[in-house]
Amino acid sequence: MENQNKEVLYGLYDDEEVLMSAVKKANEEHLDIMDVYTPFPVHGLDPLLGLSESRLHIAGFIYGAIGTLTAFLFMTWVFTRDWPIIFGGKPYFSFPAFVPIMFELTVLFSSVGMVITFYTICGLWPGSKTIRLNDRITDDKFCIAFETDNTDVQKLKDFFSSTGAGSVETATI
């Protein structure tokens, strides 16, 4: 992770429709958006920002498959090799009885694995430093943030005023 401090200029918008048209305008003017922060997922924003589809679900599938195999192999080993017991006159290897546990471990592995993967990618472990430009981003404001290191700040300010940003502020993160 970078420890260098970055100067950030951000504008707050009241409405997601205004935000969407501002992002479109930024793309037209080839402004390099650092990130967009919204209180809820805005439909159609990802393709505008050029974000590719998340690959988290592929990881989820792999974790799930590992869970299925773990349950199947573990129970097969326990009930046929390690400690064979006859339950209700069924054979040692009773596949239908394994299925519910295979299902449960699939769900467990894929959900816990996806949570850990997601937190690792986003750097959200306990005690980690998080970027919070403005408290109202988690409530009702929509934010576009730019890095100001190599950019013409006046051009960004013009952009914000022309697209209807409610307030424009700076921050160091």
Partner: protein, 414 residues
Amino acid sequence: MNQFSFESKQKSVLIGGMILGLICLAATWWVGDDGHHTRFWSNFLHNSVFFTGIAFLALFINTAFTTALAGWHVVFKRVFEAYSLFLIPGLVLMLVIIAGIWGHFHHLYHWADPQALLPNEEGYIDEILTGKSGFLNKYWYTFGTLIIVGMWIFFALRLRRFSVEEDKSGTTDYAHYKKTRLWSAIFLPLAGFSSAAIVWQWVMSTDSHWYSTLFAWYTTISWFVAAFASIILLMIYLKSKGYYENVTDEHMHDLGKYLFAFSIFWTYLWFSQYMLIWYSNNGEETIYFHLRRQNYPVLFYGNLVLNFLVPFFVLMRNDTKRKFGTLALVAILTLIGHWIDFFLMLKPGIRETAMHGHGEHTFALGYSFPGVLEFGILVGFASGFLYFVFSKLSQASLVPENDPYLGESLHHHV
């Protein structure tokens, strides 16, 4: 294009399909006849039950969506309405089966045999069938079918009328929509209980001695998946003809999600029924699976491949639900898969009844596996179903212009 026109070319193709089906159905009267014309009657019952059930589930889905305040499906809700009206010809088809029970033309149901409740040569009475005879008798079968399917038809016609009237005289206080919501909400609990009773009579009682509490749900969900699979195929066809330009990838994606989710739910019910019966190992209950697993293994395992593995692994990814090619392929496979599921529910039990419990379940086309004639009959019934649906679609605008949820549906985005 908001008005569907039923072209004469489509008509002649569908009439050709129906004639093919009739020829195949007539052929099964003689081909492989066992003295009761069981192959003919079981095919007739199988397809009548399958398509009538799809019509009922279309009505159920429409009312459930309305009650849940769903808006995304409203653009093509006329398809659900046209499907649900097939209950009328469906009732006529079932009346043929009922006439067969009264006239003893067929031997589909053991309980309908007048000898079934009498003592046998050794003086023993069939206690299970005697115990069930309060429900499994020709009076219940006849009047139950008439009352329940009649009630479904009443709701289907009523909801269709509100919807079509709304096009012409829809007002801004949405009086038609409010009535639709009220009658949809009334229908749902009635549909839940009555569909179970219908499944017990039409399907489960072919294995007259056997019962399973889960069976009604399992069968209903089989209809549910078949209904969605056929609606996906119909929508892709209508879009290819230039109709429903406002139905986008987003709508098809949601239809695909329903196909995916309810295929898994079907598997859940299939497995729940199987595992409980397998675990308790009670001879009264295991007979159903024993008969099918020992003598019909291809269909028994093929059923799970077609209806679980294929939709699960193909539709799991996001983009396969948005590509019409893969979606259509899975829809065709699951539609045939659930037709085969009903085949497997009905045929072995009917065959056992027709052999009076004394025969071997050896390989026979039309029982162990659907023969060419069975697929011909499927084409015939499907053509008749489509002919009816197309003629109903052409009688009203394809898009309900004054539905309050139309705007939401047009802007649907997943």
